[in-house]
């Protein structure tokens, strides 16, 4: 039995007021945990290794600047055999990729006045060496999903295909990054609410 990750990261104690309030949505609570398990402890890893999953999670949580989540997925990466060199590379990638979102462009038209530009992240050569081809493509795609998802287009997916990600793998990668965007926000929100209960 894996402890509820949202409770762990938000510091929610059993029997606390917040624990009781969360139980009004028991299914959502259980299924958020089931989502975590199916992404990080799946019955089969399929085409995306445990180390890739955890490396991307470390990048996503680092970009969000959420220390509890960063430490949690860092532990996961250690357990998945992530080397010190890989961890160092991810730290460099986080430092180079941190910015403020959401930004991005709309299809040309009335909304173009709302277009905002920002960092288009490219993995630096020294970091790329430690990440390897698949993770380089994954990190560049992940950065866009985290900070400027409306810039996503078919060429981003083509880069993943070119780096050896299959369609199935891309679905898993996309779910993983998008799920973390959810989990991190629930944790951040509940941590604030806990201080006001």
């Amino acid at each position: 039995m894996v402890a509820d990750v949202i409770d762990t990261l938000a510091g929610i104690a059993p029997g606390s007021k917040l624990d009781t309030a969360r139980n009004r949505r028991t299914v959502a609570r259980q299924q958020a945990q089931a989502s975590y398990l199916s992404l990080f402890r799946p019955k089969s890893m399929g085409g995306v290794s445990a180390q890739e999953r955890c490396a991307v999670a470390c990048f996503v949580t680092g970009l969000h600047g959420q220390p509890q989540a960063e430490a949690f997925y860092g532990q996961g990466l250690t357990e998945a055999g992530g080397s010190a060199a890989l961890k160092a590379a991810i730290s460099l990638a986080v430092a180079a990729g941190k910015t403020q979102g959401p930004y991005g462009a709309y299809p040309k038209g009335p909304l173009s006045v709302e277009d905002t530009t920002g960092l288009v992240y490219k993995v630096a050569p020294d970091v790329a060496l430690a990440l390897g081809r698949r993770l380089v493509a994954a990190f560049e795609h992940t950065h866009m999903l985290v900070f400027h998802p409306r810039d996503a287009a078919a060429p981003s997916l083509q880069s993943l295909l070119d780096a050896g990600w299959t369609t199935d793998d891309i679905v898993t990668l996309s779910q993983l990054v998008a799920f973390l965007a959810f989990q991190i926000r629930v944790v951040a929100g509940l941590r604030v609410l806990a201080t006001k209960m």
Binding site: A28, Q31, S38, G101, F147, L161
Partner: protein, 201 residues
């Protein structure tokens, strides 16, 4: 290696936020409905979703899709306590407006308008964006959604105070947090795996 981008051409893309019905065209190949196993079909939760290219694409990782969908339904449809459905939908629409997901915004603006019967305010959110002045309660819900959607996240005690001042209890505030957070999941899938087009008449 056989996997390819699905070429989409000859369609128009919406260039404004709208409550109109939209379709969604995938950039990656959805599963062939005829070739889906029972496990894949079960992951759709609603059998009718087999018609949707979005859900047939996500069914490639069935366990994640099933858990995602059950999370979604409980956050938005569970009638017990918490925030009225209309305002859970408002949080989803505001999140989608800020992230720029025209497809998700269309669906949840429709729901928000249907359940609240406040079409002018919903239209104002779509037209002006998340800075639109709606009313104190809706402004507080939109501001909380915006703060949760921003990266880095800027949600803080003042947002909780503003929601409390508008009568939201702990359960309702958890619903705001959950609905806005969930659309940070949904928007990223919809935006990155395909694109919207006006629904076939």
């Amino acid at each position: 290696m056989t996997d390819k981008i699905v070429p989409q051409s000859g369609h128009t893309v919406p260039t404004v936020f709208t409550r109109d019905m939209l379709d969604w065209l995938p950039w990656l190949e959805p599963m062939d409905a005829e070739k889906m196993s029972q496990h894949h079909l079960d992951s759709l939760i609603d059998a009718s979703r087999v018609k949707s290219p979005y859900f047939r694409l996500l069914a490639r990782d069935p366990d994640v899709l099933a858990a995602r969908t059950r999370t979604d339904k409980d956050i938005f449809y569970n009638p017990e306590a918490g925030l009225p459905r209309a305002e859970r939908e408002l949080a989803a629409a505001a999140t989608s407006r800020l992230n720029g997901c025209i497809y998700c915004a269309s669906v949840h603006a429709r729901f928000a308008a249907t359940y609240s019967k406040r079409v002018p305010e919903v239209e104002k959110l779509l037209a002006e964006g998340t800075g639109a002045d709606l009313d104190k309660r809706w402004n507080a819900i939109v501001a909380a959604s915006v703060a949760l959607t921003s990266t880095p996240i800027t949600f803080g005690p003042a947002h909780v105070d503003a929601l409390r001042a508008e009568g939201l209890d702990d359960e309702a505030i958890i619903d705001v947090i959950s609905a806005a957070s969930f659309f940070n999941w949904a928007n990223r899938l919809m935006l990155s795996l395909g694109e919207p087009t006006p629904a076939a008449a």
